[in-house]
Amino acid sequence: MKRLLVTIALTVPCLALLALTALHVSPESFVPGADVELLLEIAEGGTDISGVDVQYRLVGSTVWQAEPMRQDDPASTYWRGIIPRTAVSTNDVEYRFEFRLSNGAAGYLPADDGITPLYVLKLNAPKGSLNDGFVLISDDSSISADDGYVLAVSYLALAEDVDPKSIRVFVGDRDVTSQTQFSESVLMYREDRPQDGIKKAMITAKVKGADVYSPTWITQILPGSKKPALPFTYRGSVNFAANVYGVSDKDKVFSDPDDDYSTWADLYGSYGIADMQANLLVSSLEDKNSQPVNRYTFGVKIPLLDVFFGDYSPSLSQFTLSGKNIRGLYGKFHTRFLELTWAHGESVRKTEYMASASPTGLSTFKQEAIAARIQFGNDQSFRLGITGARHRDIRSSLGEAYYSYSDAKGDTVYTVRPQDNAVISLDMQLNVPDQHFLAGFEIAGSMLNTNTLPGAISVEEMEDYGLDNEFAGIEVDPEDYADLFIINTNMEPFVPSMANVAWNAYVRMYFWNNFLNLQYNETGSAFNSMGTFGNQRDTRVLSITDQFSFGRFITISGGYSTTEDNLMEHKSETNTYQNIFASAILRIPNMPYVKASFNDNRGENKQNTDIEDSSFDPITSNAQNMSFGIGYNIVQIPHVPTQLDISYRFGGNNVKRTIPDSYTSDNGNSGIGFTMNNRFNMIPLTTLVSYSTSTNKDDLSSKENKSNSLYLKADYAIWENRIKPYVSYRNTGLSGDQEAQSYNYINFGVESYPIRNMTVTADLGMKTYKNDDDSSKDYDTTTFRLLLNQRF
């Protein structure tokens, strides 16, 4: 088990199910009082990403906090993010990346599979030098929680040289400087009721203008015998954001967004045995006919019970309810041998409404969502679970104009119909932690009613359709069960079959430094689950991935997946897709890291001989991409430590007809990505240069399109890092056999930290679009953003 907990510093996984290849070299450590900067490269599948968050928490905590990552520019493969300095003190921090795809699906790096370890950051020496002038005078290395925790440090020998304002005290998971009592040459921090466990403490300061830091002092706090005083510990933030837009010519932009304002607050606390969280988001973008933007959540966890009110995204099982937001009540009673879960509330379904015969816009059907699960056993050994979920469109939630219109004859035409969906599943999982082995299986069946407007079918109608209403000798009237599920002639399919079934099986194991993951998935053509994302109907998918790590030096990932549709053989042709990927990162301490990735995608269609189709057109498609990269944190450059990353990628794709033997498309592409981050030692200046170029060549038409993107950013901290003005410039140019166009962005902004734990960011952005071939398309936009963030 211990080996599983070893930090995987280099991870090159392919998020196979999300078709993403992401490369990340973990910094492995953090420095108290400084943001942890993270760089992520999406080598494959970047265009499908709608957003990436870095999620972090203290090791041992169960609550994730998130910071959004930013792409250098829309064409760049680089994403940047930070774990804020307020989140790191002296305790270990673990983190992962959450990817959100445009189709609503989400995934994690490292994979959230119960066996791949998270990235872990450990305390590192801060910048500057170790100074033994800080002397611990409260030197009990082991205390009882009853006695209280005292950190008393003398800096007598440094008293005349240290800048008292520069002293910062870090204890456990936070900066406690403001709670520390200072005298001329001694400081003291006290916690009357500390939590038992290991507590680390450290001090940083400036002595004669140079950065110094103290040794790290470790104290073991043993559980006290006194009754806990139930201290309420809390952390969180209150935020406000405003976006104000200006457009030079509204007709020339794809969208003219309204100004928007939002405020949100997050509170995480614990009181004795109870952990609680409260989240609130209110936005001016809220529209009852669109996807909800406002969010509110209140949750409490005590040892046997979790209860959440408001917005929550429970995951009961893969096929029934997984990751989809429900606004209502969620409760889970859990013991070592039995788990009962209940979720009931409102969910939403995106719909396309029509005011005439053609699609007009998007709207949202509210749904009543109910899900329940009973589970025997637990994740650490064996578990068996039965889950049921139902999603029913609430007819009254949608205005009439959004689901019907009157045609020329004055007849009402229904364009969106309320639906009813039910899924029931059985799952089991065996986990043998000692053998690092995990295997599981889930099978689910679904029912979908595509139009509940007519109500449940009557017994008489059933007889008209020749259906028997007697099951196992019991007469059943669907109208009696309409509250549970509406059965009528709009059932899809009318009579349940294997097409309504989906199942998967997986085996995950760790052996000889390998994390192996095998997964097989079959989804019937009529399987529908409105509580999940990304279930691709009528397909079978086999996926094998492996990640090999050798210490912190090398990680190699590889995998193979094959997808085949037409599972029920109802269609005249069957499409198969195969993907092979491999990637590696090599990092030798104090040397540059080297990375490479390879992706091969092949697809073909085959005729279903059972169905005669003269229009069958056999084609094959191929796409290959390779990338190589090198990166280094060049600390040897005097006064300007520089983080550098360069990558080169190339590949091609084509679609080929086999009868006659000809290409319908044949493209080649290549590109270079370059990013350089400089942190000047002598002055508080940070610069960023990011450049990417790509060329796409169509070999059939000999047309070549080029894209170049340059991003420059500089920030300069003043007034003891409390104000950080910055300026950034981005230029994206498109050239070649396409309209010559350029996008220029200039941003001026300031980040300020006026009071403790408060950040105020103001940003003015100006975008200029120029079309060299058609100047009538030119336009300018301005965007002003304001963000206030107060953490506590």
Binding site: M1, I137, A152, S154, L156, A159, E160, S183, D192, L222
Partner: protein, 224 residues
């Protein structure tokens, strides 16, 4: 006006110097009081002590404090009265312990600033030493050295005597000084005092939290 300003500045500086912390109270059991500027203070372990602070221990009580240069530990046994003194000299701390009554055990590391223990009759200067100081009700000051060497200077006569390891120096109320080999009773007295301070501690079990393979938190209790 200038004089008022000057006096105000001097007073402020003096107050700041007085208010500077020179030691930390690292342990206290039983009846222990802390007096500052003639007022008894409420305190907890870890309290920062200032110049002229007076520590008193009652019957079956114990206290210990450490100077901020971490060079010395002073343990006060039952029925003792001590005044904490220190001053900064060239980045080092010059420490002085005034013992009016009772027994204290002093442990001083070598290489730190000057360290003296003063009783009503004697000043003991030490460098890297462990010794017991006792002032009894009859006014006798006794210094039992278990490690290093102590230089005793009688206040009334300015007579100086060195007391080495394993020896005991006794100064009478009239200034008479006598050095002899420490008797078993002298050493027993240290052990007795240490034992008494230890017995005052509640022997609670040590509870060590551990995680089992399944990640469940378990507690191991160690009784001793």
């Amino acid at each position: 006006m200038k004089r008022i300003l000057l006096i105000s500045v001097i007073l402020l500086l003096a107050t700041a110097l007085l208010a500077d912390s020179v030691a930390i109270l690292s342990a206290s059991k039983g009846k222990v009081s802390l007096e500052r500027a003639l007022k008894n203070l409420k305190f907890k372990n870890g309290e920062l002590l200032q110049n002229k602070d007076v520590l008193r221990t009652g019957a079956e009580s114990f206290a210990a404090y450490k100077y901020i240069d971490a060079s010395s530990m002073i343990k006060l046994f039952s029925n003792s009265v001590v005044t904490v003194n220190a001053s900064k000299e060239g980045g080092k701390l010059s420490k002085k312990v005034n013992v009016t009554k009772g027994s204290i055990l002093t442990q001083v590391k070598k290489g730190s600033g000057t360290f003296t223990v003063q009783t009503p009759t004697t000043v003991a200067s030490v460098k890297g030493t462990e010794f017991l100081t006792k002032v009894d009700d009859d006014g006798f000051s006794t210094f039992t050295v278990t490690d290093g060497e102590v230089e005793l200077r009688v206040l009334e006569t300015d007579e100086v005597q060195l007391v080495g390891k394993g020896k005991t120096g006794i100064v009478s109320p009239d200034g008479g000084i006598r050095v002899r080999v420490s008797s078993a009773d002298d050493l027993d007295e240290i052990q007795k005092a240490e034992l008494e301070s230890a017995q005052n501690e509640e022997r609670e079990p040590i509870i060590v939290p551990v995680l089992d393979d399944a990640g469940n938190r378990k507690l191991i209790e160690i009784h001793y």
